[in-house]
Symmetry: C2
Subunit: 228 residues, 2 copies
């Protein structure tokens, strides 16, 4: 499938690399490809320059947001939450119309340092903001509850831990579940939380995720749901 | 131990009944004991009148909030979140000073119907509001992430599912963990999330809990944390 991955940070790279490895034709979207490739320093998170990653992934093309969006049958929003609406505006609503828009971002507000707070409150979510901004896209929220290494390699952590999907378009959720299956998340480990307002639940879960990161000593963990 | 349980709803009754069964001397606190006992109808949640429950639990005494608080070496806040600060004001800061105040409530706002939203946002929590209102109490947040039947009988759901504690007083957390152990939560299934601001995480988790209730078909479920 032709897939656009918006965002050149660790989440975007990890997803783009894995989807390319799985045989998809992946275009990564960024604001300004030349500027992205010109950066010679590691970023604030310690990720090496994009050009270094690019050299290891020659099959993955880098393009401006709009060109990436045009190329994708399915579009992944892997930009930082604070930049997502702007990135999607640059991608262009007309280039996203009718497409599954898999939103894996988190609405993190680092303006007061670490730990971040959220820039949405409990009666809204970034995924809903995205759906409102691009009404013709079929937004599915998923994968934002796990570290990006776990997104593409759930076996990094043993057990039947789970991820979630939510969205207003049932068929879009099915398509997203198909892609999740390719990434290693079988259907029984993908919990459907209902409509796109379910994104409030998984985005606010990040507050617990951050505390669990501290408590467990690292970002490689996930939750399972135990039932009788 | 002498334990005060504030609140006469299903959470208060369930905890009071179990703690009494475990041998503790339990006093349940309410605004007006006569009014509580005079009610002849089931409440909005379908709980039978308190007098019916009282008849089955003769060892549990009902008293005004302040009298209950005075009696307890440890105090449990099991009031509805919306009424917690008022109940604790009635209990009296002087009667709570120096005591472990185990807060199991949730900051649910039902003013717009179901599902509820939260009346605290991500940079605050009800537990922190309680700690600020009663600075001399040693507030520990716990158990709010599970249904009350599961609070007192974790074996209702198989597996090593977990609960959380957080609070600013390490010794108070240890005492709370002791009580959790008596309820069936061994130390390795009680995750310490750090200071009282960790309550933001577990209170906002309720948004996910509500969606999981729908997804799993009932309130008897819980999460486990899978690590490598």
């Amino acid at each position: 499938m032709d897939i656009a991955v918006l965002g050149t940070g660790s989440v975007g790279r990890t997803l783009a690399g894995k989807l390319s490895e799985l045989g998809h034709v992946v275009v990564v979207g960024t604001r300004d490809p030349e500027a992205t490739l010109a950066r010679g320093e590691s970023d604030a998170m310690g990720n090496p320059p994009y050009s270094v990653w690019q050299a290891d992934h020659p099959a993955v093309r880098l393009a401006p947001f709009a060109e990436a969006a045009v190329s994708g049958e399915l579009v992944v929003n892997a930009t930082g939450g604070g930049g997502s609406l702007d990135a999607l505006a640059q991608a262009g609503a007309e280039n996203l119309a009718g497409k599954v828009l898999l939103d894996v971002s988190n609405p993190l507000d680092f303006s007061q340092g670490f730990p971040p707070s959220l820039f949405v409150k409990d009666t809204d979510s970034l995924a809903e903001q995205i759906q409102r901004a691009v009404p013709a896209a079929r937004v599915v929220k998923s994968l934002n509850t796990v570290n990006c290494k776990l997104m593409v390699d759930p076996a990094n952590v043993p057990g039947d831990h789970v991820v979630f999907v939510c969205g207003d378009d049932e068929q879009a959720k099915e398509q997203a579940r198909g892609l999740l299956g390719e990434l290693g998340w079988p259907a029984e480990r993908v919990i459907d939380l209902g409509d796109i307002a379910g994104a409030r639940a998984v985005e606010h879960y990040i507050l617990l995720w951050i505390r669990l990161w501290r408590a467990t000593g690292g970002p490689q963990f996930n939750i399972t749901v135990a039932t009788p």
